[in-house]
C-alpha cells in the first residue's frame, strides 16, 4: 500500500468503520457521563484526543524497550503509570499556558486517567508492534511504524470526539421528550447509541486501497 492509501485506510478504519465507541465499545463511561451538552462533549473529546496522541508517542518507544529487555509483562503497570502521569502533567501545563483552555476542558482531564479508550489505543499499538500486523482486519495491509501508530491514535481520538458530539446533540433534544420513568437517563441513551451504531456499521462497506 502506498502512503496515501495507508493514511486513508487508517482514517476510515479508526474514525468510522472501527469507531472506538460504536464499533469497539471503548470509552463508554465518558461517552455516557459527559455527553449531556455539546460544548462539554467537544471539550472532553479534544482532551481525550490530545492525551491519546501523546500517550501513544510515549508508550510506543517504551514498549519497544520492554520487548528488547524481554519484560513485556510489565506493560499494564507502565502504561497506566505513563497515562496517569501524563494527564497530571498536561493539566499543569495547560493551567500555566492558557487559563481559558483550562477552564474549558480542565475539569475533564482528571477523568481521562480511567478512560479505557486511552489505554486501549496504547494496547492496540503495542499488540500491533508485537504481531507486526494491525488488529482490525481492515487496515491489516498497513505497515507498522511509529508515524502510523500516532496517526491511528489521532484518528481514533477524532472518531471518539465525533461520537461524543453526535450523541450530545441528540441528548439535548431527548431532554424535551416525555418518557416513561424507567426509560429516562441511561436506557434511552443506550438505545439511541444502538441506532447510531447501526448507521456507523455502513462505513464497514468502504474499501480503501483496492484490497480487503
Amino acid at each position: 500500500m502506498n502512503i496515501f492509501a495507508s493514511i486513508m485506510a487508517i482514517l476510515v478504519s479508526a474514525a468510522l468503520s472501527n469507531n472506538f465507541v460504536f464499533a469497539q465499545t471503548y470509552g463508554i463511561c465518558p461517552f455516557l457521563g459527559v455527553s449531556k451538552k455539546t460544548s462539554s462533549a467537544a471539550g472532553m473529546g479534544a482532551a481525550v484526543t490530545i492525551v491519546m496522541v501523546i500517550a501513544t508517542m510515549i508508550t510506543y518507544p517504551i514498549y519497544m524497550a520492554l520487548v528488547a529487555l524481554n519484560i513485556q509483562f510489565l506493560e499494564i503497570l507502565i502504561f497506566i503509570f505513563v497515562i496517569a502521569a501524563l494527564v497530571q502533567m498536561i493539566e499543569k501545563i495547560i493551567k500555566k499556558i492558557s487559563p481559558p483552555l483550562y477552564n474549558a476542558m480542565g475539569i475533564y482531564l482528571p477523568l481521562i486517567t480511567t478512560n479505557c479508550a486511552v489505554l486501549a489505543v496504547c494496547e492496540i499499538t503495542a499488540n500491533a508492534l508485537v504481531s507486526g500486523t494491525w488488529e482490525p482486519a481492515f487496515i491489516a495491509g498497513v505497515e507498522m511504524n511509529f508515524g502510523f501508530s500516532v496517526l491511528y491514535a489521532l484518528f481514533a481520538g477524532i472518531g471518539f470526539t465525533l461520537a461524543m458530539v453526535i450523541m450530545s446533540g441528540i441528548r439535548e433534544k431527548l431532554n424535551n421528550l416525555s418518557l416513561p420513568k424507567a426509560m429516562q437517563g441511561f436506557p434511552i441513551t443506550m438505545i439511541t447509541a444502538s441506532f447510531i451504531a447501526m448507521a456507523f456499521y455502513v462505513f464497514t462497506m468502504i474499501n480503501v486501497g483496492g484490497g480487503a
Partner: protein, 222 residues
C-alpha cells in the same frame, strides 16, 4: 453484625447493582456479552480482581497517604490484573484469546476503582471482602444474563449449546449490545422500583395500622 453483611450483600447484588443501577464498567459489559461463556469469564475475572483489590486496599488503608491514594490504588489493581493476565495466558488460553484488549482494560474498569475509593478505603478487611464478592457476583450475574439473551437471539445457542436453528446477527454485534443493555437497565429499574413501591406501601399500611390500634387503645384507656 450478621445484618450488616446481609445489607452489604443485598446492596452489591441488587439495590446498587454495578451494571444495571450504577452503570459502571460499561465497556466490558458491552464488549464481552456476545456469548454467555465469555461474559462468565469476564465476570469471574473482575470478581477475583475486585475482591483481592478490596482486601489489599482495605488492609493498607491506614498506611497509604491520602494525597496519593488514587495512584496507589491503580498500582495495586494493575499488579493484580498483570497476575491475572499471566495466569489466564498459562491456564485458560481460550478465554485469554477471546478477551483480547479487554483483559488489560480491567485496570481502568471504573467499578473496581469506585469500590476501592467508596468502600474499601474506609472499611475493615472482612467487610471489604464481602463487598467485593457481592459486587463481583452482581456484575457476573448481570453479564451472564445479558450474554444469554444476546447469544440466544444472536445465534440460537446458550453457553455454546445449539438449541434452536436461527440467528439475528444484529444482536451479536455492538449495536445489539447497546440495545440489549438499554432494555435490560430499563426493565431492571422498573422491576426494582415496583418492588420498592410495594414494600413502601406495605410498610406504611403496617405503621398506619399500628398507629390506629394505638389510638384505639388510648381511647379505651381514657
Amino acid at each position: 453484625m450478621k445484618n450488616k453483611y446481609g445489607k452489604i450483600t443485598l446492596d452489591g447484588l441488587i439495590f446498587n447493582n454495578p451494571t444495571f443501577v450504577l452503570v459502571l464498567g460499561t465497556c466490558p459489559t458491552l464488549a464481552m456479552t456476545s456469548n454467555a461463556s465469555d461474559a462468565f469469564g469476564m465476570g469471574i475475572s473482575v470478581l477475583v480482581v475486585l475482591t483481592l483489590s478490596n482486601i489489599i486496599i482495605s488492609a493498607l488503608r491506614r498506611i497509604i497517604p491520602n494525597a496519593v491514594r488514587i495512584p496507589a490504588f491503580i498500582v495495586i489493581i494493575a499488579t493484580l490484573v498483570t497476575l491475572l493476565k499471566l495466569f489466564l495466558n498459562k491456564f485458560i488460553p481460550d478465554l485469554y484469546a477471546s478477551m483480547g484488549t479487554f483483559l488489560p482494560l480491567i485496570v481502568v474498569n471504573c467499578m473496581i476503582l469506585g469500590r476501592a475509593e467508596a468502600y474499601a478505603s474506609k472499611n475493615g478487611v472482612l467487610a471489604s471482602a464481602v463487598d467485593g464478592i457481592a459486587n463481583g457476583i452482581g456484575f457476573t450475574v448481570s453479564l451472564v444474563a445479558m450474554g444469554i439473551i444476546r447469544e440466544f437471539i444472536g445465534s440460537g445457542s446458550i453457553f455454546g449449546l445449539q438449541i434452536m436453528d436461527f440467528g439475528i446477527s444484529f444482536f451479536a454485534m455492538p449495536m445489539g449490545a447497546f440495545m440489549v443493555y438499554g432494555i435490560c437497565i430499563a426493565l431492571f429499574v422498573y422491576i426494582l422500583e415496583s418492588i420498592q413501591r410495594a414494600m413502601r406501601i406495605k410498610k406504611t399500611k403496617r405503621l398506619h395500622g399500628e398507629l390506629l390500634n394505638g389510638e384505639e387503645l388510648n381511647k379505651e384507656e381514657a
